[in-house]
């Protein structure tokens, strides 16, 4: 009999990740709905400090595989450790974030265990007593409601902002699981910060520019500064990435990043279907475009019809005046 909703406790530099706090909130809701308990799974090396952090963020029991082989992420190490803990303690559900590393991990773990994976979901809930996950596909043109077969655990990788962090700490036991003998077949030689790296997926505010900016100089002058005063980061449409104005890391859309920030501002972007695919589930969308017929206005919460080169400097000044940034 399977028991417990587990949240993988993701961590970096000894701190648990923001996504994990959100997932403990979501995990609590699922655990309550299933009449089960909420637990954390910690994988890493010298991770005793994370147990208290996980509990402070709401985890009850915390399962720990602490081994030097888990000092950096490898698929083989993480899969072997998670499998050992899962087989020993039989959780019903395992939640992880949906970063690329977690997509790498969960895809392998689900196949290894022969269990179901709902990848990169935008929602997960209990419907009629069963876990149901929701994920977009086909460039957000199709919303899929997924249910699981009888295999356990049900594995779900979840996007940011699906769960809310808990206020109350959890209580429970710390259960150590031994790292099984494993051959780790990949060797990480080096990890470096990407130059100009942007984590669009985690940004709360994204200001994107497109062809309507007119030139790379206009983009560079206006978009990053507006993004800065709004407390966010900047993105781009495929058109100007392909034109070489902006590096691919910043591309929002079907073949770039899919984002869902609190505020998405599309500046001089007409709203091609492939761009809409990457941003249409943003909470609030502001569109600024010269062409009142541009498709971007169909998804916009607020629209300004005008030249970005007039509107953006005024907007940046107004935000500065109101927020003091």
């Amino acid at each position: 009999m399977a028991h417990g909703v587990w949240v993988l406790i993701e961590h970096k530099n000894g701190e648990i990740a923001p996504i994990t706090k959100e997932l403990l909130g979501k995990g609590k809701e699922l655990a309550d709905g299933l009449g089960q308990s909420l637990a954390g799974l910690v994988l890493g090396s010298n991770v005793s400090g994370l147990v208290e952090q996980a509990r402070a963020a709401g985890a009850g029991n915390v399962y720990v595989v602490d081994d030097a082989a888990l000092a950096s992420y490898t698929t083989d190490g993480y899969v072997a450790a998670a499998k050992a803990a899962i087989e020993a303690h039989q959780p019903e559900v395992l939640l992880t974030g949906s970063s690329l590393q977690m997509r790498d991990f969960t895809g392998a773990l689900a196949a290894e265990l022969g269990t179901g994976l709902a990848p990169d979901v935008t929602g997960v809930s209990i419907e009629g007593g069963a876990v149901q996950a929701v994920r977009p596909s086909h460039g957000a043109n199709v919303i899929n409601a997924l249910t699981f077969g009888s295999e356990r655990p049900m594995i779900v990788s979840v996007r940011r902002q699906v769960g809310q962090p808990l206020d109350a700490a959890g209580s429970g036991e710390t259960i150590n699981v031994a790292m099984p003998q494993t051959e780790i077949r990949t060797k990480v030689r080096n990890v470096e910060q990407r130059t100009g790296a942007v984590n669009l997926a985690d940004a709360m505010v994204i200001v994107s520019g497109g062809r309507g900016m007119g030139s790379p100089e206009n983009y560079e002058k206006l978009i990053p500064e507006l993004a800065r005063v709004l407390g966010g980061t900047h993105g781009a449409s495929r058109a100007i990435v392909d034109a070489g104005w902006v590096p691919y890391e910043r591309q929002v859309g079907q073949t770039g990043k899919t984002v869902a920030p609190k505020l998405y501002m599309a500046c001089g972007i007409s709203g091609a279907i492939q761009h809409l695919a990457g941003m249409r589930s943003s909470n609030t969308i502001v569109a600024i475009n010269k062409d009142p017929e541009a498709p971007i206005f169909k998804v916009a919460t607020y629209g300004i019809v005008g030249d970005v080169n007039d509107v953006l400097p005024a907007l940046t000044e107004e935000v500065k005046a109101k927020t003091g940034r």
């Binding site: 698929t75 690329l100 997509r103 790498d104 969960t106 895809g107 392998a108 689900a110 196949a111 022969g114 179901g116 994976l117 990169d120 977009p136 086909h138 460039g139 957000a140 043109n141 199709v142 919303i143 899929n144 409601a145 997924l146 699981f148 077969g149 077949r185 990949t186 060797k187 990480v188 030689r189 080096n190 990890v191 470096e192 990407r194 790296a197 984590n199 985690d202 691919y248 079907q254 073949t255 505020l263 279907i273 249409r280 909470n283 609030t284 969308i285 569109a287 009142p292 206005f297 169909k298 998804v299 919460t301 607020y302 629209g303 300004i304 005024a314 907007l315 107004e318 935000v319 109101k322």
Partner: protein, 257 residues
């Protein structure tokens, strides 16, 4: 070196319709090779050329997926195999990986598999990792650069959200490609004509010693719907200063600022 590239045929645009039985209706939309798979093909071709190896492309799909396989042949792949079986119409990523793993094992001498990081239609990103597990091989996902590839070893950069990870592994191995790993070549008209008559064998589940009931069930699609319409928006009016002040006021009221 014998490289396999897994190729999925997908609709060029995602403006698909949803049938009442939750299947996807892409009729009238041009089918193309999944964008990320094109980078996988190109990378396999380049390294096979350097290592005096060969490239086999495999697609699981309906009869017309031979169009994508022919394009891959015209780009320079040596062989192509279509896996087509009536019972595979709704197979999920994990089931598809199991089938393709069986095909790769049937080929026998494969030592590297290239896939795209995900398909642009289902977007699960699950196929490559699942394939590696079913083959019992290591995986290197989100590969942004291949530094070195010999018959025994590979060194790559993986592009993650904000880090670049340099990783090495021994072959056999499964890698998944991101966009801009390389510049996929265009097949010449001459090559397109040359491969048009090249036979593409079709393998069924029974050719692979598999049965349909071993391939699914872990995930079911309960429902598929179009995205909810966004609430209708508001076009602000007045001169630039008025519009800008009103917008900022609205963002403050809705606690975005």
């Amino acid at each position: 070196m014998h490289a396999v590239v897994c190729v999925k045929q997908v609709p060029e645009q995602n403006s698909v319709k949803i049938n009442s039985d939750t299947t996807i209706d892409a009729s009238g939309i041009t089918p193309i090779i999944n964008l990320f798979d094109e980078y996988a093909i190109e990378e396999a071709l380049q390294w096979a050329e350097k290592n005096d190896g060969k490239v086999t492309v495999i697609s699981l799909g309906p009869d017309d997926a031979t169009d994508s396989l022919k394009k891959a042949l015209a780009m320079g792949a040596n062989e192509a195999i279509l896996i087509n079986d009536d019972s595979l119409g709704q197979v999920g990523a994990q089931g598809a990986a199991k089938v393709v793993a069986a095909a790769i094992q049937k080929l026998g001498d494969v030592n590297i598999v290239f896939c795209g990081k995900q398909s642009t239609d289902d977007e699960t990103g699950q196929f490559g990792p699942a394939l590696a597990r079913f083959l019992g091989w290591p995986q290197l996902t989100y590969v942004f650069k291949v530094h070195e590839l010999t018959d025994s070893q590979i060194v790559v950069d993986r592009a993650l959200e904000d880090t670049l990870e340099t990783v090495e592994a021994s072959l056999p191995v499964v890698i998944t490609a991101v966009k801009d790993l390389n510049e996929p070549r265009y097949p010449s008209l001459l090559k397109i004509r040359k491969v048009s008559k090249q036979p593409i064998p079709t393998w069924t589940l029974s050719d692979l010693g598999l049965s349909a009931d071993s391939l699914g069930g872990t995930i079911n699609i309960a429902k598929r719907t179009p995205p909810p319409p966004r609430p209708s928006g508001e076009i602000l009016s007045g001169d630039v200063q008025t519009q800008v002040k009103e917008l900022v006021q609205k963002l403050i009221e809705s606690q975005i600022l």
